[in-house]
């Protein structure tokens, strides 16, 4: 069940995007996501879409694989579209029974859907091309400046890495406990929501107990291997910017300039004409 969610799961292949420094990808994704909400005209959408298509082509990740991951968010997407479509007031386009669709509503629904799709594909493109370890490394190094305000950046990154490492182990364990409880007559399938939620208790309690036990063991094993926080620690795979990373920053900057310029074009022309 949980394994079906492919959205944002690392896709193993070799591409420029895969080899890019995670810090570049993190900042790039952030900039892209923010930029999606900065423009209000078709030209802006075109540029954002073009940029996304370029990135997808560069990533060598099959488009079908990405779309497959989108299925899980289809529901949210549909709700957004329907709400915008029916609940926006303005000039009436069609009207039947109690439902009215306005021009503004239609416009809003389309742009919102487009925006959401680009947002999700853009964000998942980062996780598709970056291993979780690389990602936490990137976060740790990229956010190191937060240490000045006493943010435990290394610790947070370490916790993320460990959490990711233990996901498959805990999944397997859940499966085992589930089977063990089923063998003793537990029923996870039937009944209403409340009954099903209650049926989860004999699953969750042993799972939590074992997770804490594992955490204790792991802490001891880490200490036994001289782990003492981030200070004085060297890296086996240190992050060093290469030429392509600088190139990526430049492309990103170019995209940002173009999208702001285009996105504000209408505003500017209005300003100019009003003068």
């Amino acid at each position: 069940m949980i394994r079906d969610i492919t959205i944002g799961q690392y896709y193993q292949t070799d591409s420029v995007l895969h080899r890019l420094d995670p810090r570049v990808k993190l900042l790039g994704t952030l900039v892209y996501l923010v930029s999606l909400f900065c423009f209000h005209n078709p030209a802006g959408y075109a540029v954002a879409l073009l940029f996304l298509i370029l990135c997808i082509r560069l990533s060598h990740v099959p488009f079908g694989y990405m779309i497959k991951g989108m299925k899980s968010i289809m529901f949210i997407l549909m709700i957004t579209i329907l709400f915008n479509l029916f609940l926006t007031s303005g000039t009436v386009l069609v009207s039947f029974w109690k439902i009215t669709i306005t021009v503004e509503g239609l416009k809003l629904a389309i742009t919102m859907a487009l925006r959401l799709c680009m947002l999700i594909i853009g964000a998942s493109l980062m996780t598709l091309t970056t291993t979780p370890n690389h990602l936490t490394d990137g976060l740790e190094k990229g956010l190191r400046f937060l240490k000045v305000i006493k943010m435990p950046v290394h610790e947070i990154a370490m916790m993320m890495a460990i959490a990711l490492r233990f996901i498959p182990i805990l999944l397997e364990e859940t499966d085992k406990i589930m089977k063990a409880q089923l063998a003793r007559g537990a029923d996870f399938e039937s009944g209403g929501l409340v009954r099903r939620a209650r049926a989860m208790v004999p699953l969750l309690v042993p799972l939590f107990v074992s997770a804490f036990r594992r955490a204790n063991d792991l802490a001891m094993a880490m200490e036994a291997r001289c782990y003492r926080g981030g200070d004085g620690r060297t890296k086996m795979k240190p992050l060093i910017y290469a030429g392509r990373d600088y190139a990526a920053y430049i492309i990103l900057l170019a995209y940002l300039v173009i999208s702001i310029f285009l996105g504000r074009w209408s505003v500017m022309t209005e300003l100019l004409t009003s003068l």
Binding site: T131, P132, N133, A161, I162, L164, R165, P168, I169, R214, D217, L218, M220, A221, M222, E223, A224, R225, C226, Y227, R228, G232, R233, T234, K235, M236, K237, P238
Partner: protein, 283 residues
């Protein structure tokens, strides 16, 4: 030179009931003194709850003695300033392989120890390669630990300790969760380290077959050191071992029973070969 030395080691922990009131004090390790020479293969045997794991945790400064002292390479483990040297000198491998692998890729996990020690990047890679080769896991270096068998995971754990260049490795029941073939893999790797690299090994186990090649065996019971000697000396005392609820290797037991029935076979036979030889010489 003794790599590990314990003198009058006592460890007590306080048992509490659910409200946190003191119920009583348990003595897990009771006045244990032992010495392990550099380069030896030493085994510690004992029934569940005999205090052998607690003793092991003292060698790595995870636990500190309530009374007495433990020295590792001449350094007192309870002194704060020795903590990291002690932990680097004595590597520790635990029972559950899943709970001691930190990296998501085999090579990254092996690099974890050297990273903590502040070893330069280039040297980390050298150490990782050499450690993985020593345990025969080099070809799996790019794999995820989740895909490995129990024996392989445990060998990765050993490589992870090895990469810190310890003088001594303590293995706390490393084979308890493995199948027989995994057990053989791990023990072979450990013996290789001892024979080839000359690393002192302290193996804690309750599988008797794993200890017959040890240089020295310590037997623990109820927190105390009750027997000490070479495998031959230890396994000559079958009755005493049974008293301590420890198994004896099948061959040793057979030889012992035959001897009881009057056959003139020496005590302390550890391997099938030896028994065959002894039976042949009967005529």
């Amino acid at each position: 030179m003794d790599i590990v030395k314990a003198k009058d080691l006592v460890f007590e922990y306080i048992r509490r009931d659910e409200e946190g009131n003191v119920e009583g004090i348990s003595t897990a390790v009771d006045h244990v003194s032992l010495q392990v020479a550099q380069g030896d293969f030493v085994a510690i045997l004992g029934h569940n709850g005999s205090g052998k794991s607690t003793l092991a945790k003292h060698l790595n400064a995870i636990l500190y003695p309530t009374e007495g002292t433990v020295w590792v390479d001449g350094k007192d483990t309870s002194a704060e300033e020795n903590l990291w040297t002690v932990r680097q000198n004595v590597g520790m491998v635990f029972q559950n392989p899943d709970n001691q692998i930190i990296g998501q890729v085999v090579e990254e996990d092996v690099g974890f120890g050297p990273e903590n020690l502040g070893v330069p990047t280039k040297e980390i890679w050298e150490r990782v390669e050499e450690s993985l080769r020593a345990v025969g896991m080099y070809e799996h270096r790019k794999h995820s630990p989740n895909r490995l068998s129990g024996g392989q995971k445990q060998r990765v754990s050993i490589a992870g300790v090895l990469a810190m260049h310890p003088k001594c490795i303590v293995l706390d029941e490393p084979t308890a969760m493995l199948d027989p073939s995994g057990r053989r893999e791990v023990i072979r790797a450990v013996r290789g380290l001892n024979d080839v690299e000359g690393i002192t090994v302290i193996l804690i186990t309750h599988y008797m077959e794993e200890v017959i090649h040890a240089d020295k065996i310590f037997v623990m019971d109820k927190g105390q050191l009750v027997m000490e000697g070479t495998p031959k000396e230890i396994f000559s005392r079958v009755e005493r071992l049974k008293e301590l609820r420890l198994d004896v290797p099948q061959v040793t037991l057979l030889a012992h029973e035959l001897r009881k029935k009057g056959l003139p076979i020496p005590e302390g036979i550890l391997e099938r070969k030896e028994l065959v030889e002894a039976l042949r010489n009967l005529k």
